[in-house]
């Protein structure tokens, strides 16, 4: 290879390197750039209605308060009952109780099947025990389900007031732990949230 040829090749390589260096790399995304991912933990103040921050704050406060109760140290079986929505707006209360349950379970609490998932579980139990399709020694047996000692239930209420300038919403979430057998309210706590918006 001639000296001149080598020089030409090197210049081309350097030029290619410089060009590549200047160009920014492509992000591993598809789309026109109108959509972006945000922080799921951010304080959401898009509107006055019940939102993600309310859900997260309620779940966190309730789970931490209950986790401190002496009853929880024995890790008793708890069942979840629907939280009543007494506000005027639509709120998926199952979403709130699910978040509370998730946090409590991460802290070590134990839950038994509740009414929301009972059908699915008992259907599977019946199939295994009564269909005759399963090997006797390797299938779930009827009559061994554990009853919960405690029941977790609650309600969410709201007071909404407005004048020509301001709309004020006050939410109150109450959660209680009931001793099923003895009929005692073992624990109760509430979380209040005030949201005010200009009209």
């Amino acid at each position: 290879m001639s000296m001149r040829h080598t020089l030409k090749l090197t210049t081309a390589a350097v030029a290619a390197l410089i060009l590549a260096g200047c160009a920014s790399t492509n992000s591993p995304t598809v789309g026109g750039g109108n959509v972006s991912y945000g922080d799921s933990k951010a304080v959401e103040t898009v509107s006055n209605e019940f939102g993600s921050t309310d859900l997260q704050m309620i779940a966190e406060t309730m789970a931490r308060s209950l986790a401190q109760h002496p009853v929880m140290r024995e890790r008793p079986f708890i069942t979840l009952s629907e939280v009543k929505n007494k506000t005027s707006e639509y709120i998926d209360t199952r979403n709130i109780t699910n978040s509370i349950k998730t946090q409590l379970m991460k802290s070590g609490a134990r839950f038994v099947t509740d009414t929301a998932t009972m059908d699915t579980q008992t259907d599977e139990l019946m199939r295994q025990s009564q269909s005759g399709m399963y090997s006797k020694g390797k299938s779930a047996k009827v009559g061994k389900m554990q009853g919960a000692k405690y029941l977790l239930t609650g309600e969410i209420t709201s007071i909404t007031k407005k004048n020509k300038d301001v709309k004020d919403v006050f939410y109150k979430f109450t959660l209680m732990l009931k001793n099923v057998e003895e009929g005692i309210d073992e624990w109760q706590d509430e979380k209040e949230i005030r949201k005010t918006s200009k009209r």
């Binding site: 304080v43 921050t53 704050m57 966190e60 931490r64 986790a67 401190q68 991460k106 802290s107 070590g108």
Partner: protein, 137 residues
């Protein structure tokens, strides 16, 4: 036996003191230095195996200030032992000293960091590199 007990009391006293005086700066993570809000006090104790934190935030301004905060829970090795917490909004009135109480969600948490952010920040204050390591505030 009495000596051991005394030593234990002394050790726990030293531990709680170091926790409260260990420097608020070590536990605080400011997203831009706050101009009007100051974390004036921080108390740490372990209750029933759970880490309890009490933080006093003072508003030095006469007008209301908004604060956003959340905690990170760590074990003794500095590993995170809990998922990301939601940011929590708090309104602090002019000249008010607000107490923020938080209890760790898991007994595995032995240390914490408090993240704070206030919309009325003066990030210019932290531009000088000396205040970064010096922690003059």
């Amino acid at each position: 036996m009495k000596l051991i007990r005394l030593a234990l009391i002394a050790a726990s006293a030293a531990l709680s003191m170091s926790a409260s005086a260990a420097g608020i700066a070590d536990k605080l993570e400011q997203l831009g230095e706050m101009t009007y809000l100051k974390v004036s006090e921080m108390r740490v104790a372990k209750r029933d195996g759970l880490l309890a934190v009490q933080v006093e935030v003072s508003n030095t301004d006469a007008s209301n200030q908004q604060l956003y905060y959340r905690f990170k829970w760590l074990d003794e090795s500095g590993f995170s032992v809990w998922g990301e917490e939601a940011w929590k909004p708090v309104l602090i009135y002019g000249k008010q000293k607000k107490m923020i109480n938080e209890v760790a969600p898991t007994p595995r948490a032995s240390d914490f960091r408090m993240e704070v952010q206030s919309p009325n920040n003066s990030t210019n204050n932290i531009s000088s590199p000396s205040s970064n390591g010096g922690g003059s505030n």
